[in-house]
Amino acid sequence: MATLEKFVVETTVEEEAPPYRKIVSDIISDLGMAGRIAKIKVAIRPEDSLFQLVAVVRGVLPQVILKDFAEIQKGDHEGEILITISVEKHLPRLLQILWDRYGRDSLEQPDRWTISLFVDNPEEEIGSLENLVVDDPRRTLKSNLADMAIRVAPEGFRVRYHSLNGNNFIFVASEDTMQKEWIDEAHTMLKELKGDDASGSSA
């Protein structure tokens, strides 16, 4: 947790903040997000059934495109495309995408670095495969942030608002109807957290 620049938890009763801070830090650690979040603030008002979380995330990595880590060429057999990868960590995700798109029967894996793909028109497919998005860290981050916020929030607060705008994440939850002032309050919180005039998300 040492990597967080700012970590604030506020509750109506001051003594109740430290246990909640521990919950937040445990969940951030469990999800392996300590390195992704720069600043975070959580405010809870149990008497209003209100939970607010704002966070500033660190710069997001770019998308991973197939041609960035693989060589794609025509194979020796008819209709064969040979994909030779150089980074193995993307392989499970790549295989899942290819299986979904072409079916398991169209794929062979002679070794851990090579995938043989059999299609009807290899020339066209090679073009589209080169720009295939294998991993989108931004999308993963968004789902991880939402997951973190839902885990941190009290369970009964199921009326939720969340937004990820640039590097700014806002999450508001309650068990009652969502009120606009709560969301506005969260935007103000975000501004204060960032310590500058940059605006948050426009709902």
Binding site: V13, E16, P19, D30, E155
Partner: protein, 311 residues
């Protein structure tokens, strides 16, 4: 006059643990539960008070440990607002585990709609299931406002003693409907193993122990017609099918009865006709009912004032 039985747990190796069981039978004690785990074994027992030193000596000789387990013979419901990851496995499971260390049998009970403040509620079926236990331990969160003003509605319809746990340090009077409140055990996302946390769990065990003592005292004023442990022994001898049940506690003792984990439809008649003494069968001294838990059998033993005799 029946011997006074003391609850103890033996922890040791599987090697020669049969000697403990043999001695227990010779002394007239009861084996409540036996839990083997690889080369180790845990035996939960009721030992006649005057013979405890004998058992301690034997345990020492075979390099095992005999410790008092004050919650032996109780079945406790650990009630969590839901079964979601907000409440489980920590702290509700930690609470249950700590209670089991003192000999209690615990059941985790996650309410279907116990979460939240305004929306929290319990169902009739859940209340009936909780009432089948000796004590209900409710595991709440970190906010005093919720614990004092909103969560007590989950106690309605629960007739057994209620122990509420939560994070803030409140007094029992603040939590309406709870018989006792224990602080320091709120919502956490890590295993309760720090010093302060273990201390709080120890306080909880002690508090639950005091509630059990009160219940036992209340029972002693109008004693049960037969000891639950004795009925358990008779069931083991007369209903051999119980030995094929694979749950950890096929017969779960309660302070005033037991839960027998056999199908009610098939076995209730056999249990009703269980011979306890000359001309006394189990149905003469106990109510045998279908349990709300699966298709199990719930036995509640009647008091002497009702039966007019004890055996």
């Amino acid at each position: 006059m029946a011997a006074v039985l003391e609850p103890y747990v033996y922890e040791g190796g599987v090697h020669k643990h049969g000697l403990i069981i043999e001695l227990l039978e010779d002394l007239g004690g009861y084996l409540v539960q036996s839990t083997p785990a690889a080369t180790e074994i845990n035996l939960v027992m009721l030992i006649p008070r005057k013979d405890v030193p004998l058992m301690e000596e034997l345990a020492k000789n075979i390099l095992g440990k005999l410790t008092r387990a004050p919650l032996t013979g109780t079945e406790i419901a650990v009630v969590s607002p839901t079964l979601a990851y907000h409440h489980l496995p920590h702290s509700a499971c930690d609470v249950a585990e700590h209670l089991r260390r003192d000999g209690a049998n615990t059941n985790m009970l996650g309410l279907a709609r116990g979460m939240g403040r305004r929306v929290a509620l319990s169902q009739d079926y859940e209340r009936k299931l909780i009432n089948e236990h000796d004590i209900a331990v409710y595991s709440f969160g970190n906010f005093s406002d919720c614990i004092m003003n909103k969560k007590p509605k989950l106690f309605s319809g629960v007739d057994v003693p209620i122990v509420a746990t939560g994070g803030p340090d409140l007094s029992t009077d603040d939590v309406e409907g709870a018989d006792v409140y224990v602080g320091g055990i709120g919502r956490v996302s890590h295993r309760l193993r720090n010093e302060g946390e273990i201390d709080s769990l120890d306080v909880l065990n002690k508090t639950v122990g005091e509630v059990v003592d009160k219940l036992r005292e209340e029972i002693s004023r109008d004693p049960l017609a037969v000891l639950p442990a004795r009925v358990m022994k008779e069931i083991k001898e007369q209903v051999p099918e119980i030995n094929d049940v694979l749950t950890p506690a096929p017969i779960t003792l309660q302070l005033d009865g037991m839960r027998v984990k056999l199908p009610f439809d098939q076995f209730h008649e056999k249990l009703e006709q269980l011979d306890l003494d000359e001309d006394v069968s189990l149905s003469d001294v106990a109510n045998i009912m279908p349990s709300k838990m699966k298709d199990y059998i719930l036995i509640k033993i009647r008091r002497r004032s009702e039966t007019g005799f004890t055996i």
